[in-house]
Amino acid sequence: MCNIGITGLNAGDSPAPGVAVARCLTEHPDWSGNISGMVYDALESGGLDRKLASSVYLLSYPKAGKDALLERISYIQKREALDVIIPNLDAELLNFISIREELADMGIRMFIPSDEQFKRRSKVNLSKLAAEIGINTPKTRLVTDRSHIDVRQDELPVMVKGLFYDARMAYTLEEVRHHVHKIASMWGYPVLIQQFIEGEEYNAAVVGDGKGNLLAVAGMKKLVFTDKGKGWACVSIINEDLNELAEQAVSALAWPGAMEVEAIKSKKDGKFYLIELNPRFPAWIYLAKAAGMNLPHLYLQLALGKEITEKMAYRSGVVFTNYTTNLITDLDRISTLFTNGEVDYYAKAV
C-alpha cells in the first residue's frame, strides 16, 4: 500500500504529465495505494477526475517559494501520510529539490536530481554540457534584456524559447523581438535564442539510477502535431542513436529519476542534435507503458528504495493518440477546492 502525491494534472490541449503518470502507476498489476492530486489551480482538469485521485490539494504557485510549499506539504502529510511525491512540472522542481531533506524527515521520498544536476541540464547550460560530453546541440544564446537582441539576418530562422516553457519560430528580426517580448512577459528572462535545425524531432523518456546508469529508455516519434507543436498522436520507436544520446546524457549527469530527451535529426547532416533535457516524465509517458516500459512504476520502486527485478521489453509500432472527453463535477466541489484548498476522498464524492 502506497500513498503517492502527484503534480502536473492539467490535461488540456497541452497536457502536463501527471495524469499519464498516475495512470501508469495505478494500472500496474502490483499497484496498491492512493493518489493525492496536488494542483496549482482548482480547474486543473486531472484534479477533477474522481477515478484518478482520492483527494486533491491546492498548492501555492511555485513563485511563492519553497517555504510555502513545505508548509503546504506538511499539512497534506498529516492528512495523507504520503510515501512518495512525483513532481511533474519543470517550474516547481527547484522548490522540491530545496525541501527534499525536510520531506525525507517527514517520510516522503522523491527520486529527483540535486540542484547542481538540475542546473547542468537547463536550457541555459545545455550547450556547455553538450560540449563537455561531445554531443551536438544547436547554438544557443541568452537574452536578458529586450534591448540586447543581437540576432543577424543571416542567422534566421531561429527558435525563441522560454526558460521553462514555450518555443516559437521566428523568421524575421521583427518576429524575434516580438517573441522575446511575449515569452519574457509570460515566463520572465532569460529568453533563449536557438539556432534552427531543420529535421525531424525525436523524443525519449528515460529513468536513470543516479549513479550514471540508464535503467530504461523509451523512444517516441510524433505522428500528429497540435498547433503548439505538441504530439497529439505518437508512435513508439527503437532508435539506437537516440538511445545512445540518452545514455550519454544520463551518464554525464548521473541522473536520478525521470527525464525527457528531445533531439532533432538534422536533414542536412543526418546527425542528432540535442534540443532539451526536461527534468521529468513527458506527457506522452503512457505510450511507454503501453509499449512495454512502465517507467513511472520503475521510478516508484527506485523512490521506495526497492530492488529492481522486473524485466521490461519495449516494442516499436505502438501508437497512441490523445482524445478529448468530458468530466462532470459539481461547482460546489471546485469552489470548495478554491476556498478550502482541498477536496478529500474525491472517489466518495458525487
Partner: protein, 85 residues
C-alpha cells in the same frame, strides 16, 4: 547495380501495404507491386528475379516491369531505405 538492403529488413510490413520504420517512426504505404518488390529485396533477390516475379503475377510487359522496379528503387533511395554500394 548493387544496393544495400540492410535497413529494409528492419521494416514492419503489413499485408495491407502499411510499412513502418521502427527506427524513425515513419509510416509509408505501398501498393501490392511495391510490397512484392520489397519482399523480394528483403529475400536478397536480384533485379531479374524481381522482374520475373512481377511478370508472373501481373499482366505487364518486361519494359513496364523494369521501369516500375527502378522507379520504386528511386523512392526507396529518396526515403533513405536503401543505398547504392
Amino acid at each position: 547495380m548493387i544496393i544495400d538492403v540492410h535497413k529494409l529488413k528492419e521494416l514492419a510490413i503489413s499485408e495491407s501495404g502499411l510499412i513502418f520504420d521502427p527506427t524513425s517512426g515513419t509510416i509509408y504505404t505501398s501498393n501490392s507491386v511495391g510490397l512484392l518488390i520489397l519482399g523480394a529485396l528483403r529475400d536478397g533477390k536480384e533485379d531479374i528475379e524481381i522482374r520475373n516475379l512481377i511478370l508472373n503475377d501481373y499482366d505487364v510487359d518486361e519494359l513496364t516491369a523494369e521501369r516500375d522496379i527502378y522507379d520504386f528503387y528511386n523512392q526507396l533511395r529518396g526515403s533513405g531505405m536503401v543505398k547504392d554500394v
